[in-house]
C-alpha cells in the first residue's frame, strides 16, 4: 500500500503550507502566554488599569492581524489537504439528488 504512505520530503509550496499550519497552531499558545502577562505584573505592583488596557488591546489587535494573514493560505490548504466532500455528504446541496 505504498500509495498511502505520505512523502518524506515536500516541494517548496507544500512545505510552506505545512509551516503555515504550524504557525496557526502555535499562535493561540503564544497568545495565551502573552495574555497571562498582566497576572505577572500584578505581583510587581501592576502598571495600572489604563496601561494594561493599552497592552491588552494592542496584543489583541496583533493576534487578530496575524490570524487574518494566516487565514487565506490556510483556507486554500483546507481544500487541498482533504479530499472534497462526496456526492451525498454535501450539506450545501439544496435539494437531495
Amino acid at each position: 500500500m505504498s500509495a498511502n504512505r505520505s512523502p518524506l520530503f515536500l516541494e517548496r509550496a507544500t512545505y510552506r503550507r505545512r509551516r503555515m499550519m504550524d504557525g496557526a497552531r502555535v499562535l493561540p499558545i503564544l497568545g495565551a502566554v502573552l495574555l497571562l502577562l498582566p497576572v505577572l505584573w500584578t505581583r510587581s505592583g501592576g502598571m495600572g488599569t489604563a496601561g494594561e488596557a493599552v497592552y491588552l488591546f494592542g496584543l489583541w489587535f496583533g493576534l487578530i492581524l496575524i490570524a487574518a494573514l494566516l487565514s487565506r493560505p490556510l483556507r486554500a490548504a483546507l481544500g487541498r489537504e482533504n479530499p472534497p466532500p462526496n456526492r451525498n455528504g454535501n450539506p450545501d446541496a439544496d435539494a437531495p439528488e
Partner: protein, 911 residues
C-alpha cells in the same frame, strides 16, 4: 423620551426583523427552486456576524457593569473565544468537519453520535443545556425589562408583565422562523440572516455610545486614559486565578454553549468560512469591548452613585439628554437579548425534541403497536414537539426570571451558565481526539460534573433558603463540613465560581477517563470513534472500508418499509428523491435501492440530519433489525484489511522479482547477440588469417611448377613455402590451443617450480625476439626462491608472451623493464612494467580479445591471439591477467595462486 415612543420603536424593530427573516427565507427558497445556493445568505460575513450571538445583553449592558466592579476582568470573556478562534486549526476545524460529515443537529447530537448513538448521553447533555440556558434566557428577559424601566421615570411599569410579552413575542418569532420546516440540514436561513442584522445593530449601537463618550463627553483618547487612571481602584487589580480561570472558561463556553454550537457548526454551510471567522470574529469581539472601559468611567463620573452600573450604556445618553442615542442604545441591547433568546431556544428545542420527545414517542409506539412501521406522520410530530419545546423553554426562562427577581448582577448568571455547559468539554474533546473514550465514560463523567455544578454553584446561586438551606450552605449537609457547597473537600477561601469550575471539571474528567479506561465500547461506538477521531485521514466516511454501522444486507422487503419511514420523517418528495438517486447509483430503476450497508449508512445520516443520530439509528434498526455491526464484524474487517495489506505486499515483492528476472533475460539476450556477432567476426578473421599464408603458398608452388625456375630460386621459394606453412601451422596450433583452453578441456601439467627461475627462463626466451634491443631490467621481490606448484610450462608461456610483446612494442629510446613480485597470502602477483607509451585507454578493453592487434599485422608477426591465450591460461590456472593503467608504460599484472592444487577450481576438469 417615554414608553410611548419606546414601545412602538421596539415593536417596529421586531417587525423589521420579521421582514428581514421572511425576505431571507423567500430568497433562499427562490434560489433553491432555481437550483442555486443562497450565496450571500451563506457568506463568510453572515457566518461571522451570526457568531456574534455570543455577545448577548450580558455583553451589551453587563460588560460595563462588570468593568465598574472588577476593572479589566470583563475582557477575559472575550479573550478566551479569541484564543479558540485564532487557534481554529487545532479544534474548530475538526469540530466543524465532523459536524458536517455526521450532519449533527446539536451539541447533544454530536456527543451522542460519537458515543454509539446513545440516547442516554444525549439526554444528559440536553438536561444540562436546559438547566444552564434557562437562567441565561431569564437574564435576557431581565435586561429587556430593566432597559424599559430606565425610560419609565414617570410611569410605573410592571417588569414581569413586560417580560412576559417579550417572551411571548420571541416565542412566536422563533416558532415562525425556527420551525418553519424540518430541514434535512437543520439550517435556518431566515433566522441566521436576522441574527446577522442584529449583530450589526448592536455593534453600531455600542460603538455609537462609545464614540460619543470618548469624543463627546471626554476630550479624546489621552483624556480617556487619564480618567481611567484617575478612576483606578484597588479592586480593579487583576486577580491571577480569576484571570486565568475565566479566559479558560470563556474559551470552553464559546464551543459548548448550545447557541454557539448551533450557529458555528449546525448552521455552517462551508467549513472554509471558519477561516474567515478565525480573525473576523475576534475582531468583532474586540470592537464590542473597545469602549467598555471609557463608558464605565464616564458612568462613574457623570451618573449618580446609586445608578445600576449594568445600565450605564443606556443611562448615560438618556440622563444627559441624548434621546436619539439612548434609543439606539436601547435597540442595541434589545437586539442582543432577542438574538440570544431566539438561537438558544431553537438549539434547545432541537435537543429536547430529538432526544427526549421523539424517543419517548417511539418507545410508546413500540409498546402499543410493536413497531414503527405503522406510525403516523413523524414530521408533524417532530415539528409540534419543537414548537412546544420552544414555548416551554421560554416559559421556563420567564418563570426563572419571575421567581428569582432582578436582584443579581448580570455577569454572575452568565458565568454560572458557562460553567454548566463547560461540563461537556471532557466528553467533547474525548470524542474528537481519543478513540478510547467510551459511552459509559462520557455518561458518568457528564453526570458527575453536572451534579457538582448543580450542588456547588447553580443551586447556591439562588441564595440561602431558596433551594438549599442556609444551614447547609454554612455547615454542609448533615453537618459534614467537607461537603459544604463552596468548600468541597475542605478547599475554602476560593472564589466560588473557580471552586465549582475546578472541582466539577476535574472530577468530570477523572471519572470520564477512568470509566473509559475500564469499560469496553460497543461495536457501533468503535465505528463512530474511528469516524470522529480519524476524520481527516478518512477523507470521507463512506470511502473508508469497514467503518459502517451496518454490515449485512437487509432483506429486499425492508426497503419498502424504509421508504415509508423516511417519507414520514423527511417528507415524501425529499425521501423519494433520495431513494431514487440511491437506486440509480446502484444501477437500479425505481424507488427501492438494495438495502446495502452503504445505503443504510447514508440513509441514517440523512435522517439524522433532521431527528438526530440516536433517533435515526433507533428507527432504522427497528426495521432492519439485527443487521447492526458486531464485534466479530469489526474483527473480520480488521483481518480483511490485514490480509489485503499482506496480499499487496506479496504482490509487490513478486512484481519486483519479475522485473529482476526480466532484466536478467534482457541481459542474457544481449549477451547472446553479442556472441553471435563475435562468432561471425571470428570466422571472418580466421578466414582472413588463413588466406594470407595460403595465397603465398599457392603462388610460389605455381611458380615452382613452372620449368624455368632456377634451382636457386627453387630453394628460396620452397623455403618461403615452408615458412608460410609453419606460420599456418602455428596459427592453427594457437587456435586449437585457444579452443582447448576456452572449453576448459586443457590438461594441466602441474609440477613444483620456482618463480624466479621461471622469470629468468622467460627473459632468456624472449631475448631471441629483436635481440638487438637492449632492455634495462629492474627486479624486485624475487631474490629468494618462491615455491610454486602449478603448470609451470603454461605460466612461463604467459611470461614469455608479455615480455615478447614488450620487446616488440615498447617505443622508448632506452627501453626498460621492471618486474616485481608480491605475495599476498596464497596469491602471487607479478607485474611487468615497461617505460613505453603504454596502451591507449580505449584500447585497453580490447587487448585481451582474439585477433585484436593494435598495430599493423605484419609488424606484429602474429595473429593477435597471444594475449587471448594468456588470459585463458591464467583462467585455467585459477588466476588472471590484467592491464594496469597509470604505471608510466604498459603494465601487465599476472596474479595466480602459488599452489594450484590447494586451490579449489570449480567446473574445471583437467586433473
Amino acid at each position: 423620551m417615554t414608553l410611548n415612543i419606546l414601545i412602538p420603536a421596539a415593536l417596529g424593530y421586531v417587525v423589521f426583523l420579521f421582514v428581514i427573516a421572511s425576505l431571507a427565507e423567500r430568497r433562499a427558497e427562490t434560489l433553491r427552486l432555481a437550483g442555486r445556493k443562497p450565496r450571500f445568505l451563506r457568506s463568510p460575513l453572515v457566518y461571522t456576524l451570526s457568531l456574534s450571538v455570543y455577545c448577548t445583553a450580558w455583553t451589551f449592558y453587563g460588560a460595563v457593569g462588570y468593568a465598574v466592579r472588577s476593572g479589566l476582568e470583563f475582557i477575559t470573556i472575550y479573550l478566551g473565544p479569541t484564543l479558540v478562534f485564532i487557534g481554529w486549526w487545532w479544534f474548530l476545524r475538526k469540530l466543524v468537519r465532523i459536524g458536517k460529515a455526521q450532519r449533527v443537529t446539536s451539541i447533544a447530537d454530536l456527543i451522542s453520535a460519537r458515543y454509539g448513538k446513545s440516547n442516554l448521553v444525549a439526554v444528559i447533555v440536553t438536561l444540562l443545556a436546559v438547566a444552564a440556558t434557562t437562567p441565561y434566557i431569564a437574564l435576557q428577559l431581565q435586561s429587556i425589562s430593566l432597559s424599559f424601566e430606565t425610560f419609565s421615570d414617570d410611569h410605573a411599569v410592571a417588569p414581569q408583565q413586560l417580560a412576559m410579552w417579550v417572551a411571548a413575542g420571541l416565542a412566536l418569532f422563533t416558532i415562525l422562523f425556527g420551525t418553519r420546516n424540518l430541514d434535512a440540514n437543520e439550517q435556518h436561513h431566515g433566522v441566521v440572516t436576522a441574527i446577522a442584522v442584529e449583530a450589526v445593530v448592536k455593534l453600531i449601537a455600542l460603538l455609537a455610545v462609545g464614540i460619543w463618550v470618548v469624543w463627546g463627553l471626554m476630550d479624546g483618547l489621552p483624556d480617556v486614559m487619564a480618567r481611567i487612571a484617575a478612576a483606578d481602584r484597588p479592586e480593579w487589580r487583576v486577580q491571577p486565578a480569576r484571570w486565568m480561570g475565566l479566559i479558560f472558561l470563556a474559551g470552553v463556553a464559546v464551543v459548548t454553549l448550545p447557541r454557539m454550537f448551533q450557529v458555528m457548526v449546525v448552521e455552517n454551510s462551508d467549513e472554509r468560512h471558519v477561516s474567515t471567522a478565525s480573525w473576523a470574529f475576534p475582531l468583532y469581539l474586540m470592537a464590542m469591548s473597545l469602549f467598555v472601559l471609557p463608558i464605565a468611567v464616564a458612568g462613574m463620573e457623570w451618573l449618580p452613585a446609586d445608578t445600576n452600573p449594568d445600565l450605564f450604556v443606556l443611562n448615560l445618553p438618556h440622563s444627559l439628554g441624548h434621546d436619539g442615542l439612548a434609543m439606539l442604545s436601547f435597540l442595541g441591547g434589545f437586539s442582543a437579548a432577542t438574538s440570544m433568546v431566539i438561537v438558544a431556544s431553537i438549539a434547545l428545542a432541537t435537543m429536547v425534541s430529538n432526544h427526549i420527545v421523539v424517543p419517548l414517542w417511539l418507545a410508546q409506539r413500540r409498546m402499543f403497536e410493536g413497531a414503527v412501521r405503522e406510525a403516523g406522520d413523524m414530521r408533524g410530530l417532530v415539528l409540534t414537539a419543537r414548537r412546544l419545546s420552544i414555548v416551554a423553554i421560554l416559559a421556563l426562562g420567564y418563570l426563572y426570571f419571575a421567581v428569582s427577581g432582578s436582584s443579581r448582577a448580570l455577569a454572575s448568571i452568565g458565568l454560572i451558565a458557562f460553567v454548566g455547559m463547560a461540563q461537556v468539554l471532557p466528553a467533547l474533546v474525548g470524542a474528537l481526539y481519543w478513540r478510547g473514550a467510551s459511552r459509559m465514560g462520557a455518561a458518568t463523567g457528564l453526570a458527575t460534573g453536572s451534579l457538582i455544578w448543580l450542588y456547588a454553584l447553580f443551586l447556591p446561586s439562588f441564595g440561602p433558603n431558596v433551594v438549599l438551606g442556609a444551614d447547609l450552605l454554612t455547615n454542609g449537609p448533615f453537618g459534614l463540613a467537607w461537603l459544604r457547597p463552596h468548600a468541597l473537600l475542605g478547599v475554602s477561601g476560593m472564589d466560588p465560581l473557580l471552586h465549582a469550575l475546578f472541582w466539577s471539571l476535574l472530577l468530570n474528567a477523572v471519572v470520564f477517563i477512568a470509566v473509559s479506561l475500564v469499560s469496553f465500547p460497543s461495536p457501533v461506538e468503535r465505528v463512530q470513534a474511528v469516524q470522529f477521531v480519524n476524520t481527516f485521514d478518512l477523507g470521507h466516511p463512506e470511502e473508508f472500508h469497514g467503518a459502517h454501522g451496518w454490515v449485512r444486507e437487509a432483506s429486499e422487503n425492508d426497503s419498502e418499509d424504509l421508504l415509508a419511514m423516511s417519507q414520514r420523517t423527511l417528507g415524501p418528495v425529499v425521501a423519494q428523491l433520495f431513494f431514487e438517486s440511491e437506486a440509480r447509483a446502484q444501477g437500479k430503476d425505481g424507488f427501492l435501492p438494495d438495502p446495502t450497508p452503504d445505503f443504510l449508512d447514508r440513509l441514517e445520516r440523512e435522517l439524522g440530519g433532521s431527528v438526530g443520530a440516536a433517533t435515526a439509528h433507533a428507527m432504522i434498526s427497528q426495521i432492519v433489525g439485527g443487521r447492526l455491526v458486531t464485534v466479530d464484524d469489526l474483527m473480520a474487517v480488521a483481518s480483511e484489511t490485514a490480509q489485503i495489506m499482506e496480499h499487496s505486499a506479496q504482490l509487490e515483492a513478486k512484481s519486483e522479482e519479475l522485473a529482476r528476472t526480466a532484466r536478467q533475460l534482457r541481459d542474457a539476450n544481449e549477451m547472446l547477440q553479442k556472441l553471435a556477432v563475435q562468432k561471425d567476426s571470428f570466422l571472418s578473421q580466421i578466414s582472413h588469417e588463413l588466406r594470407t599464408p595460403m595465397t603465398s603458398i599457392r603462388a610460389f608452388s605455381e611458380i615452382l611448377m613452372d620449368d624455368e625456375v632456377t634451382s636457386d630460386a627453387q630453394i628460396r621459394y620452397a623455403g618461403i613455402i615452408h615458412d608460410e606453412s609453419i606460420r599456418l601451422t602455428r596459427l592453427l596450433d594457437d587456435l586449437l590451443d585457444l579452443s582447448v583452453l576456452e572449453n576448459g578441456q586443457v590438461n594441466l601439467d602441474i609440477q613444483a617450480g620456482n618463480l624466479p627461475d621461471l622469470i629468468e627462463r622467460a627473459l632468456l626466451a624472449s631475448n631471441s625476439v629483436l635481440p638487438e634491443r637492449q632492455f634495462a631490467e629492474q627486479r624486485s621481490g624475487f631474490d629468494l626462491p618462491i615455491a610454486l606448484n602449478t603448470d609451470v610450462g603454461r605460466l612461463t608461456q604467459v611470461f614469455i608472451n608479455i615480455l615478447t610483446n614488450s620487446r616488440k612494442y615498447c617505443d622508448a629510446d632506452t627501453p626498460e623493464m621492471r618486474i616485481s613480485v608480491r605475495r599476498k597470502g596464497p596469491q602471487l602477483t607479478v607485474d611487468f612494467i615497461d617505460n613505453g607509451s603504454g596502451i591507449a585507454k580505449k584500447s585497453q578493453a580490447l587487448i585481451f580479445e582474439k585477433f585484436s592487434r593494435l598495430t599493423d599485422t605484419h609488424q606484429a608477426g602474429g595473429a593477435g591471439l597471444g594475449l587471448a591465450i594468456c588470459r585463458e591460461i591464467m583462467h585455467n590456472l585459477g588466476g588472471e591477467i590484467a592491464y594496469v593503467p597509470g604505471q608510466g608504460g604498459a603494465a601487465f599484472r599476472v596474479s595466480f595462486p602459488a599452489d594450484l592444487a590447494a586451490q579449489p577450481r570449480t567446473g574445471q576438469p583437467g586433473l
